[in-house]
């Protein structure tokens, strides 16, 4: 199970001038669903994701994960960070083993699994390398392997490929699509890249800023299993036009 449910969720960052980051957000994500959050910088995408991750507390409303409240971070809700956030003093294999180690799982149980994950993300030869010896794309693959080793019920990804070049990004998209297709984990994916959102997600939630809220939900009708070739699909182009129109309308409203 990996369902996420937001009910009238609000988040205000206190301070001299309090920031209303989220305002009455309603969102339901089903088991195994791939949902993309799309919106301009500062609209509250990270805030929304951090609430599910348990990194932040909400100000109002209710948020439930698998029917229960979210009180703190946990391995069932694995997070993939934008800059990977690997621990630089640990090797690739040690970074992936961090979760199982602190959870006191047996070495015999997780070691074969780490080897398998390294193969999955194409890094078997780099098990003993340090993060600083890897390229950005390779680091991000370690970040994904580190999340998957915990058998999470949901993957929370905050602009995970935002810092990568176009080519690397495309190979990461394919990797993520393949992984998701075989595992069926629930995914909440934050991005401000329209193409990325359409290519990956079952459903796109478009957010607007000040106050941050979800203005529109669009179901993506591209056949599965997907591949990066579908970027030129007529259905893809149609969705893109629809989303761009929506964003332009939102901008006009604010101006």
């Amino acid at each position: 199970m990996g369902t996420i449910r937001f009910r009238e969720v609000g988040k205000i960052y206190p301070g001299k001038e309090p920031v209303v980051a989220l305002d009455r957000v309603n969102l339901e994500i089903g088991e195994g669903e791939f949902v993309a959050l799309l919106g301009p910088s500062g609209c509250g995408k990270s805030t929304l994701l951090n609430l599910v991750a348990g990194f932040e507390d909400m100000t109002s409303g209710t948020l439930s994960f698998n029917g229960g409240p979210v009180s703190s971070p946990g391995p069932e809700r694995a997070v993939v960070f934008q800059e990977a956030a690997l621990l630089p003093w640990l090797t690739v294999a040690q970074n992936i083993a961090f979760g199982p180690t602190v959870q006191r799982r047996g070495r015999a149980e997780y070691e074969p699994k780490i080897r398998e994950l390294l193969r999955l993300v194409g890094l078997e030869r780099f098990a003993d390398a340090l993060p600083s010896q890897l390229s950005g794309g390779m680091r991000q693959r370690v970040g994904i392997a580190r999340a998957l080793v915990m058998d999470p019920k949901a993957l929370l990804m905050d602009e995970p490929f935002g810092a990568l070049d176009a080519q690397t990004r495309m190979s990461m998209h394919q990797l993520l699509l393949d992984v998701w297709q075989s595992l069926g984990t629930t995914v909440l994916f934050v991005t401000h890249d329209i193409d990325e959102a359409i290519l990956l997600a079952d459903r796109i939630c478009i957010m607007s800023a000040r106050p941050g809220r979800i203005t529109r939900e669009i179901a993506v009708e591209l056949r599965r299993p997907r591949s990066v070739e579908q970027l030129t699909d007529p259905a893809f182009i149609r969705h893109k036009a629809e989303i761009m129109a929506e964003i332009r309308a939102a901008q006009k409203e604010h101006a």
């Binding site: 003993d128 010896q133 390779m138």
Partner: protein, 294 residues
């Protein structure tokens, strides 16, 4: 899986070791030239000092020339013990060990208290709020000002010196450890928590390693202060060690021994700093690899 990841993999840099071997003969030659340049000035100073002296002394007979200092040092180090005429003969090693032993004790004490305290102050706002103001209040008091206090409490004994050394070393260690623990990347902590690490595990496996570079900076500064502290307290509050000999030799007009003693202190400071840097190099080897490949 498809072939896309393999493509990026081939284009990416291989793990490092080849890097270090790439340094050829030119590198070694450059190094020995740098070493030569470094000893030039000391040699010139010693030569000028020697030439300026007449009859083995200068500055109106107060300062001995380098050869006199050297003779005194050899006698102090290797001369027979217990000869009435020269009380310093053969006592060099004993005194070096007295001082080094006190520095070691005081410094270990400073580390044992300073590192955990600094980590906790940097980590917890509550600890910071209760402990940090007191530390900041006491820190401006120079360790020399603590001397009478230390003698009154511990008497003319080892403990007095060890107390001063520990106190002097404690401040830079705690301050740097605090900074190190405070500046830990927030996402490293979040990642660890997300992977199921308890608060204690986060401290041990994320905050401590992340703070180590700053902690080592503190240790190096602290050790320098520890040597200052041991000399000062031996001059006043203990009857052995390099600091005691320094003051005693001055009193009886043995400037040759005074200068030999000063140079001994410098050498010990250099040696202990080298020891810390060596440990630091080993503990933080992940950082060296990092800068080598960037």
């Amino acid at each position: 899986m498809n072939d896309a990841p393999a493509r990026t993999m081939a284009a990416a840099p291989r793990p490092a070791p080849a890097k270090a071997m790439g340094r050829g003969a030119g590198f070694a030659a450059g190094r020995s030239r740098a070493a030569l340049r470094a000893v030039l000035l000391p040699i010139a100073i010693i030569a000028a000092w020697q030439l300026a002296g007449t009859n083995g002394s200068l500055a109106g007979g107060v300062l001995p020339t380098p050869d006199r200092v050297w003779d005194a040092w050899v006698m102090w180090a290797f001369g027979p013990k217990g000869m009435g005429l020269n009380p310093y003969s053969g006592t060099w090693l004993d005194n070096v060990l007295f001082s080094a032993g006190r520095v070691a004790q005081g410094f270990v004490l400073a580390m044992i208290v300073g590192i955990p305290a600094g980590i906790m102050i940097g980590w917890s706002r509550a600890v910071s709020g209760t402990v940090d103001p007191t530390i900041q209040l006491l820190r401006p008091i120079p360790i020399t000002a603590w001397l009478p206090f230390s003698i009154a409490v511990f008497g003319i004994q080892d403990m007095g010196a060890v107390f001063l050394i520990a106190l002097g070393g404690f401040y830079p260690i705690v301050v740097n450890a605090t900074h190190g623990a405070r500046d830990v990347d927030r996402n490293w902590i979040r990642a660890a928590r997300m992977m199921g690490a308890s608060r204690f595990e986060v401290l041990r496996r994320v905050v401590l390693p992340a703070a180590l570079p700053a902690i080592f900076t503190g240790l190096r500064i602290g050790l320098g202060i520890a040597w200052t502290a041991v000399i000062v307290s031996e001059m006043v509050a203990v009857k052995s060690g390099l600091g005691y000999v320094l003051w005693d030799a001055y009193y009886v007009g043995r400037m040759d021994v005074v200068i030999a003693d000063m140079l001994s202190i410098g050498a010990m400071g250099l040696l202990s700093d080298w020891l810390i840097v060596t440990v630091e190099h080993w503990v933080l080897r992940w950082r060296r690899l990092q800068t080598a490949t960037r």
